[in-house]
Amino acid sequence: MSAPVVECVGLSKWYGPVLGLREVHLRIGPGITGLLGPNGAGKSTLLKCMTGELSPSRGEVRVLGRAVPDPDVYRRLGYAPEIEVFFEELTAREFVTALARAAGMGPDEAASKSEAVLKKVGLESAMDRRLATYSKGMRQRTKLAQAIVHDPEVVLLDEPMTGLDPLARAQMVELIQELGKQGRTVVVSSHILEEVEQMTREIVVLYHGQLLAQGELHAIRALIDRHPHHVAVECAAPRALAEALAAQPYVAALRFSGDRWLQIETRDPDACYGALPRIAKEKGVTIASLTSPDDNLAAVFRYLTMGARGGQA
């Protein structure tokens, strides 16, 4: 990775006797990074350390090459916190304009940018209504609007999907993906794996305040050796295929599921994927589909957290 946009070095944070983060070393580059972890894992604490709102108990956070808190960083950083109650008496337009001006924008630019960004997040018809009348989903979109109104290079979003209906969720994913594709650095925290998986394959996993894994989803999956990979094969003659596979050294177990499905457990998925077409051809079996049920975020997350708990599922 080239020079990281966000870097945490030995970051620890305690709330009195309660551990928030412990010795987190992290390097995040451009694009979207999913910050994952169950509730209480330290995701919000990490984001607040990145914004400088929380001072680390130990270690350092550098954003855009500078240690936070730093006013210059704040001009280039957008943050949407998790909270839902804010400035209820203001309209969305006033709220976003006020925060654009707090970022240093002039009044005219702040007004025009606010209008544009509120239209972008789909609040065109409601931007002059007071925030007190907003639904949870509208508040999420307002928070995203205020986070990007000043064109920041780094965007930190804390649980941005909470409370959104499926349609709004899809729109939010699209917006976040657009930010990532523009070359900005976007860090999105969530405890809902499917949400993150829709947006990015680049993940950071926190668990009980500790960094459990970081990197590309497949690469992390490949590193988890203690759990065999699952490969599901759909074909007309799964038993014939199983017969040939049973003798292979990379196959740990075979299971049948219905008349057409064969589940393969393997500790060497590359060898398995490489050999399957050849074996199928030899046996005259036509493979209808080939999937990997655990090559997804949920499985990776489950394996990682099981490992952190000492293998207890």
């Binding site: 916190p81 109650v85 006033e94 001006r101 707090a102 594709k181």
Partner: protein, 295 residues
């Protein structure tokens, strides 16, 4: 195998106007004042202040009219009555302070006392402090908004009474000096009230509790200081509380603090400074640990 990403690099950093850091408190204050204006209680308190202004203008105008008449009669018998005129003029300051105390107090109670509590409760610091806004700038913005509406009634009263006095034969230059002193006194009173309100507000996330604590502190110190002053015969003690200290400064400025002697004349100003510094220092300290308070 890792997936690749092609960035379209359409992002362009904002290169437009960047307003200087000193404008941040004004931005915070402006939007807070807008929010406060939408509260019914603020409008009612401002209406109350208008009523108070009207009554004060009539009463003080009447006193000035009769003072003029007494003074003219005194001239006729070659015996000036300077005390009557000085006291009449000093009414510009005392009337501005006294007539608008209740509206100002109510406005600080409504706007200032819950200000930080509400932000603490909502976690609004996350919006402010993720921007180039520091604790001092936030606090100054909140101070301006805590006292903004409360300052309006006494300042309007000073202006209105000055015009009235001018119309009733006041000397323009002397009146200008007196108006300036009155303005200083009312600004000081609102600054003291607002600073104390912010300090109290930073202690709790419950806006109602902050308001109750503020009211108790303001009224409580007033009664205690007054009682101690009476019991001990130390008049200067009465000038220590939140309400009387600014009035004491006004009395010193207009030469009406005849019961204070020597170093005692410094007591009201020192008390004001202590209330302002104490309130703001407490709020600043609490803001720096605000997130820890949230747990």
């Amino acid at each position: 195998m890792t997936t690749g990403t092609i960035y379209n690099l359409s992002y362009r950093r904002y290169e437009g106007t960047r307003l200087p850091a000193w404008t941040r408190p004004l931005v915070i204050a402006r939007y807070a004042l807008t929010t406060q204006w939408r509260q019914r209680g603020v409008k009612i308190a401002l209406l109350l202040s208008l009523l108070s202004l009207a009554v004060t203008a009539v009463v003080v105008g009447g006193i000035w009219f009769f003072s003029n008449a007494i003074n003219e009669n005194a001239h006729e018998v070659q015996r000036a009555v300077p005390d009557v005129m000085r006291e009449a003029n000093a009414m510009l300051v005392t009337a501005s302070l006294r007539s608008q105390f209740l509206p100002s107090f109510l406005l600080v109670l409504l706007c200032g006392a819950p200000a930080i509590s509400k932000d603490l409760n909502a976690g609004a610091f996350q919006f402010h402090f993720a921007r180039p806004v520091g604790v001092p700038q936030y606090l100054l913005g909140r101070l301006l908004s805590a006292g903004g509406w409360a300052l309006l009634p006494p300042l309007v009263t000073v202006a209105a009474l000055s015009v009235e006095r001018l119309a009733l034969g006041g000397e323009p230059l002397a009146l200008l000096a007196l108006s300036a002193k009155a303005a200083v006194a009312v600004v000081l009173r609102v600054a003291v009230l607002a600073s104390v309100a912010l300090g109290v507000s930073s202690l709790t996330r419950r806006a109602g509790l902050a308001q109750a604590l503020f009211a108790a502190l303001v009224l409580g110190t007033m009664f205690i200081a007054s009682a101690v002053a009476s019991a001990t015969n130390h008049v200067w003690v009465a000038a220590l509380d939140v309400v009387t200290a600014p009035a004491g400064v006004a009395a010193v400025l207009t030469g009406a603090a005849q019961e204070l002697h020597g170093w005692q004349k410094l007591v009201p100003a020192l008390a004001c400074a202590a209330w302002i510094a104490g309130g703001l220092a407490l709020a600043a300290q609490r803001l720096r640990t605000a997130e820890v308070m949230r747990g």
